[in-house]
């Protein structure tokens, strides 16, 4: 049962891959047909496309043949941004990366705040 159902992120990733492979904007029906494995319902595809549009990954292109979709960024732009986010947002104390921002434990931040708490005498 669970093997046939696609995870939410997986469907979005598959849609992006299909859009990158396609030369021109595609309709939801076309996209559903190009997905690997079981063909999902067009409504499911449209919901996932809407989520991607809100995230800024997909743009809607209105045309004579109905609404079509295109990737907002190229594949390399997308992977670059994803890699950067992984590096910037990971807890770096686990992976040898010494970052300038955002790597401290909340407990330590609280201790530092307490140490600086009483304002200096003017």
């Amino acid at each position: 049962m669970t093997g046939r159902r696609r995870a939410r992120g997986e469907l979005e990733a598959a849609l992006l891959r299909a859009l990158w492979q396609g030369e021109e904007p595609l309709s939801a029906q076309e996209l559903a047909g190009r997905l690997p494995g079981t063909t999902p319902a067009v409504t499911t595809v449209l919901t996932a496309l809407e989520r991607l549009r809100v995230k800024g990954e997909v743009v809607r292109v209105g045309g004579a043949r109905g609404v079509r979709f295109a990737a907002a960024r190229s594949e390399s732009e997308f992977t670059g941004e994803a890699m950067l986010a992984t590096l910037a947002d990971s807890g770096d104390r686990t992976a040898a990366l010494l970052k300038f921002a955002g790597s401290l434990d909340p407990e330590d931040v609280a201790a530092l705040r307490r140490a600086l708490d009483p304002p200096p005498e003017a």
Binding site: S76, T79, G80, E81, M83, L84, A85, T86, L87, A88, S90, D92, R93, T94, A95, A96, L97, L98, K99, F100, A101, G102, S103, L104, D105, E107, D108, V109, A111, L112, R113, A115, L116, P120
Partner: protein, 296 residues
């Protein structure tokens, strides 16, 4: 071999290891001094860590030596001593402890090495994909990558001896645009200080220690405080080279932009107690300024 004396030595060594593991988290995690003197605080942590580990290892060695003597003894044991059977039990206990420790340490270091390799690959891919400018200085490769995110990070090269092992510093173009040249220099000095002062080794060691001794509060604490103390040490080192003011401004700008309170606190700490400005590089006995001043 004096059985009583050896057992006492094992007990004392284990006691020392336990004392270090118990005392360090109590004494070294309170007070404001550790934020003023982060280098001293981290140094004391490592005194406790290394002397504790050395004492534990020595107690095992003494126990094994004692067990060997007991098992080998021919004459019936004098009263108050241990029998060969008791010696055998001691030997097995010591060998089991040493074996378990070896397996745990090697498993955990392998896991950490895999994690590091993944980060290295990710950073390498990012540099290949997005790198727009590259400078090589000493043993470091400094790369600017195109992104609006404010990212600055340092990744150590592989351990010395590896081929082409270079330290990497990566800065995003978004960070570079948000800062003045002086502020950016201070950020770079902060990252270089991490590498120069071997912070990657300290972080790795604290992580390995915590992974091998997950139930020991001292090990968890060391891992946690290492993250904070190396940042403060690198801040001070960078401030000594570039001045506290530009680094504090950079921390404020990036901290506000990324919504990171810890950076604003680090900036506040630098403002409260600025690090002395860089000393003149020239020898103190003779300098052109002094010579001209004396000539007047």
């Amino acid at each position: 071999m004096d059985v009583g004396g050896s057992l006492l030595a094992v007990g004392l060594l284990l006691g020392h290891a336990g004392l270090m593991a118990g005392l360090a988290p109590v004494l070294l995690t309170r007070g404001r001094w550790r934020f003023r003197r982060p280098g001293l605080a981290l140094g004391l942590w490592h005194v406790a860590l290394h002397s504790g580990l050395a004492a534990a290892a020595a107690s095992l060695a003494v126990a094994m030596a004692l067990a060997a003597v007991l098992v080998e003894q021919q004459a019936p044991p004098p009263p108050g001593s241990l029998s060969p059977v008791q010696g055998m039990v001691l030997a097995w206990v010591a060998i089991t402890v040493a074996g378990v420790a070896a397996v745990v340490v090697s498993t955990q270091s392998h896991r950490i090495a895999c994690e590091e390799a993944r980060t290295r690959r990710l950073l390498g891919a990012l540099v290949a994909e997005r790198g727009i400018h590259r400078t090589v200085a000493d043993s470091m490769v400094i790369t600017v990558v195109e992104s609006e995110r404010a990212l600055a990070c340092a990744l150590p090269g592989r351990l010395p001896g590896g081929s082409g092992a270079r330290h990497r510093v990566v800065v995003s173009s978004g960070l570079a645009r948000a800062l003045t040249p002086a502020e950016l220099r201070a950020v770079m000095q902060h990252e270089l200080a991490h590498l120069r002062l071997h912070h990657p080794v300290l972080v790795r060691l604290a992580r390995l220690n915590a992974a091998c001794l997950p139930l020991l509060p001292g090990a968890r604490e060391l891992h946690r405080v290492t993250g904070l103390l190396v940042e403060l040490i690198a801040d001070d080192a960078a401030a000594r080279r570039c001045g506290s003011a530009p680094l504090a401004r950079a921390l404020t700008t990036i901290g506000t932009r990324e919504g990171d309170e810890s950076m604003l606190l680090r900036a506040e700490r630098l403002r409260r107690s600025p690090v002395p400005p860089p000393r003149p590089r020239r020898p103190l006995l003779w300098s052109p300024q002094r010579a001209t001043a004396a000539g007047r």
